[in-house]
């Protein structure tokens, strides 16, 4: 078990590569900043004036893109947070007058209100069992409620006409342009570095497969809520700038229509690209301001038509199209190079002191029941499994095998009975907490993050134990020996930069197994790990599992239809039939059982 060959991977280039992206970012940001500094000298006052507003909207679009493009939360309600910041400012200045202290207080109040509102939304939208559609519905209700509240404020909030005529930070249009421009560049750069970092990949992982993230021990609700709160705060700051700059607030800025307009800009620019939404918003809003005078309705009609076409035909928006075209042009002169700094170094994780008593049973299932309404799927399931054991669950379709797996990996699923892992009761813990107790679950259909690379998938799997960097790619992934072994034995170490969706079916299965092992579980649940694999692949997986059981003292519970495979690797077999255990014994006992033959061959000879 030498790690030499693994360490070599990418290590030669690591030094150079870690510095480079940061320098590049700083360089690019500086150029844009110089542009921002120079722009007012080359434009007429009206354009500068319009562009300040466009850049404020672009910051809003950026926050929507983080939520929708990266995290996968389609939000209609970002406008409400904008309004929170804007109205806080307008109210403070209207009733308290302008002062620098009040301006500072206003931004804090605006952010506090926005974060409080976002907290309520997050509580409703992201907590246990809420669907993606429901989350969107809640973000749609939010602007409606906020708009009505603003109306119901009567003269205090200016009702339908809003508030005007308050004094604000006294800056010239050019100064606003520079201030907002710098803010937008800093914000975009920060967002870009975050989304490209290891932690940023986690957002994509959640969007792609939230269930898998939960079963990797990650509290996705919390992560989603946190990102949502941060975006709400960004929205409130944008609102604060808006009120200071325009000196007008009206209920429309809180509305569903504005919330949806932000989505349109993001979709047109290219969701999940950050630059697309920012540039797209600036172009569209700037063009609107100029064209709306001449062709007021035709312009919006064109935007509508383009928007629908983009959603239907170019779901990724216009920016990727432009960059693809640019790449294609460059490709004619220079061969496209793989992204250099995405290379990853695998290394062995320091062994965690296992505070477990290897003597006791690893898994105890007693009296477990599962009912769907009146239908009883599992009843009276009792069995134990110890460390180093491979227990196979077999039985005809509908016997309840996968249901039993689910009950072990998710404490909230069973209807009765108790389950303990390494001596600890799983009670009603959700999957991410069951992982903490030492359960690792591999699903039936390979369940990985399709658009992430193999290396990124492994890093996400380690996120629970090794916190991810929030601003860069660490370039390192520490794995326990068991996971390293799987990665090497199946040749995945040479695919670290390959997106998971391009892997063969067999390698995907192996990747998921390695991800589960990266959790350093005590008990692993494997649902048909050999389904769809070739004979060679089956044998390889079988060998690996047997080795893991003996060298790592893992307790492996296996659902399997391929009975040859079961016979080869199991230390014990449990036969389930119609939700009950009909036999729990050695491979020989089960193979020779008349009862089992009857179960499999159908009733009545």
């Amino acid at each position: 078990m030498s790690d030499a060959n693994v360490k070599e991977l990418g290590s030669s280039s690591i030094q150079r590569l870690q510095v480079r992206p940061l320098t590049k970012v700083v360089f690019a940001a500086s150029i844009v900043l110089i542009g921002v500094g120079a722009a007012p000298f080359f434009m007429d006052a009206y354009s500068v004036n319009v562009l300040v507003r466009s850049m404020i909207y672009a910051a809003m679009a950026l926050s929507v893109d983080i939520l929708w493009g990266y995290l996968g939360v389609l939000t209609f309600g970002q406008s409400a947070f904008f309004a929170a910041g804007a109205y806080a400012t307008a109210l403070v200045f209207t009733y308290g007058g302008f002062s620098p202290e009040y301006a500072f207080a206003a931004v804090l109040i605006g952010m506090a209100v926005a974060v409080a509102l976002a907290g309520l939304v997050a509580f409703l939208a992201f907590w246990h069992g809420a669907s993606a559609l429901y989350a969107s519905v809640i973000t749609l209700v939010l602007p409606i409620v906020v708009t009505q509240l603003l109306f119901s404020g009567g003269t205090y909030t200016g009702s339908s006409s809003g508030l005007t005529g308050f004094d604000t930070i006294p800056l010239s249009t050019e100064a606003w342009f520079w201030a907002v421009g710098v803010w937008l560049v800093v914000l975009t750069t920060g967002a870009w570095m975050y989304t490209r970092s290891d932690a940023g990949r986690l957002l994509i992982a959640i969007r792609e497969n939230e269930q898998r993230c939960k079963y990797l021990g990650l509290n996705t609700s919390k992560i989603k809520a946190l990102v949502f709160l941060i975006c709400a705060a960004i929205g409130a700051i944008a609102g604060w700038i808006y009120a200071n700059y325009t000196m007008v607030v009206a209920p429309e800025i809180a509305g569903f229509t504005f919330g949806t307009e932000l989505l349109i800009w993001v979709a047109l620019g290219g969701r999940g690209t950050l630059f697309g939404p920012v540039i797209g918003t600036i172009i569209i809003d700037y063009a609107s301001a100029h064209l709306q005078g001449d062709f007021p309705f035709v312009w919006k009609l064109v935007i509508g038509i383009v928007f629908v076409s983009v959603i239907v035909a170019l779901p990724r928006g216009i920016l990727p199209l432009v960059s693809n075209a640019a790449n294609w042009l460059r490709g004619r002169t220079r061969k496209a190079q793989p992204e250099q700094y995405s290379q990853l170094q695998l290394c062995k994780a320091p062994r965690i002191e296992r505070n477990i008593v290897v003597a006791g049973p690893a898994l105890v299932v007693s009296g477990v029941e599962k009912r769907f309404g009146s239908l009883e799927v599992l009843s009276g399931i009792d069995f134990e499994a110890t460390y180093g054991e491979i227990v196979s669950l077999v039985g005809p379709n509908g016997a309840g095998k996968t249901t039993l797996m689910t009950c072990i990996a998710d404490g909230s699923k069973r209807s009765g009975g108790t389950i303990s892992i390494g001596g600890q009761d799983i009670a009603h813990r959700p999957p991410e907490e069951c992982v903490r107790l030492g359960v690792g679950r591999k699903f039936q259909m390979a369940n990985v993050f399709d658009t992430l690379t193999v290396g990124e998938c492994l890093q996400i799997a380690r996120a629970r134990l090794d916190p991810l960097s929030k601003w860069k790619k660490s370039g390192v992934c520490q794995l326990p020996p068991s996971a390293l072994h799987v990665v090497r034995a199946t040749g995945l170490h040479s695919d670290l930069d390959v997106p998971a969706q391009l892997l063969s079916h067999g390698k995907k299965q192996a990747l998921e197994l390695a991800m589960v092992l990266a959790l350093e579980p005590k008990v692993i649940l494997l649902d048909e790990p050999t389904a769809g694999l070739t004979k060679t692949e089956r044998t390889l997986i079988g060998t690996i599992l047997t080795e893991l059981a003996t060298t790592e003292q893992l307790c492996i519970l296996l659902v399997e239809h391929d009975l040859d495979f079961v016979r080869d690797i199991s230390s014990r077999v449990i036969v389930l039939h119609q939700g009950r255990i009909v036999l729990n014994g050695s491979v020989d006992e089960v193979v020779n059982s008349e009862l089992v033959k009857t179960v499999y061959a159908g009733s009545g000879h």
Binding site: L74, L124, G129, A130, S131, A132, L133, Y134, S136, V137, I138, L140, V141, I144, V145, T147, Q148, L149, F151, S152, F256, T257, T260, L263, I264, A267, F297, V298, K300, L301, I303, G304, I305, F307, V308, I311, V312, P315
Partner: protein, 278 residues
């Protein structure tokens, strides 16, 4: 007390009329048609056209059905069909269609408010209280609509196929039902119903290019709470519409305006399947 009760009943009826088309589309296609508001607006303008041409105001209603049906049929063919597997994108794309409808109407008419001649004017005395005759007529129409839709779904072979597609589309296909055709017909019908609703509510609300938006949100919430059953839609209309009337009466119409959305959000949080009994 009597006016409040009458308000509850008639509000529920109006909500039912406005939502039934959206429910039909959602039930069959599992897809939320955000162009519903735009289609509603088309119906409103159909009534305006009828008035402008000096026709009997009742003519506006079949006119709306025809306009809505044609536009809906086209939308399904060109846009919606390719988004069946992308439900969240479908929401956005249909919202975009709604914008297109709104802008096209603005180009043809203008941004201003129009009025359509109401089919029935005046009040009728109920237990000594005068009450709008038209709202009562709408209640009767809502009942007729509910009974008609139920009869169509139960009694016709297309209705049976539609119900089969709602319950289990794969199985329906395996039995030889062309679910694509069923979807197309449903979307056309749902769009027609939306436009009819738009024409029917013109006496109650002014007609402008954005008249559909507020109704869309209410209809959307009602449909989410009702699942895909016309019965639960009736129930949801009474409960949420009733709550809206009561809140408006005692806390002002502004808070009344957010009652349906807020209440629906809470109901769905507690019971994700809403009022449907599954």
């Amino acid at each position: 007390m009597v006016p409040v009760l009458l308000d509850i009943i008639t509000t529920a009826a109006i909500l039912y009329i406005v939502s039934s088309g959206l429910l039909l589309v959602f039930g069959v296609m599992k897809l939320i048609n955000f162009a519903h508001g735009g289609l509603l607006t088309i119906g409103g303008y159909a009534a305006v056209i009828a008035t402008a041409l000096g026709l009997n105001p009742w003519i506006g209603i079949p006119l709306a059905a025809v306009f809505g049906g044609i536009v809906g049929f086209g939308m399904e063919r060109v846009v919606v069909r390719s988004l069946y597997n992308r439900p969240l994108d479908a929401i956005l794309a249909t919202w975009g269609l709604s914008i297109i409808i709104g802008q096209a109407i603005t180009l043809v008419f203008d941004r201003g408010v129009h009025f359509a001649e109401p089919p029935i004017r005046g009040v009728i005395s109920i237990l000594g209280e005068p009450y709008s005759t038209y709202r009562l007529v709408l209640t009767a129409l809502a009942l007729l609509l509910g009974l008609g839709l139920t009869a169509a779904l139960r009694g016709t072979s297309l209705g049976l196929s539609t119900r089969a597609v709602i319950m289990n589309e794969d199985l329906a296909r395996g039995l030889g039902i062309n679910s694509g055709l069923v979807r197309s017909i449903t979307f056309t019908l749902g769009s027609g119903l939306a436009a009819v609703a738009g024409a029917l509510i013109t006496p109650l609300s002014s007609v402008d290019p954005n008249m559909g938006v507020a109704w869309l949100i209410s209809a959307f919430m009602l449909v989410l709470v009702s699942g895909s059953s016309l019965y639960s839609l009736a129930f949801a209309s009474v409960v949420l519409g009733g709550a809206q009337v009561i809140v408006s009466n005692y806390f002002g119409s502004v808070l009344g305006g957010m009652t349906i959305a807020a209440l629906a959000a809470v109901i769905l949080r507690i019971r994700p399947q809403g009022f449907s009994y599954e």
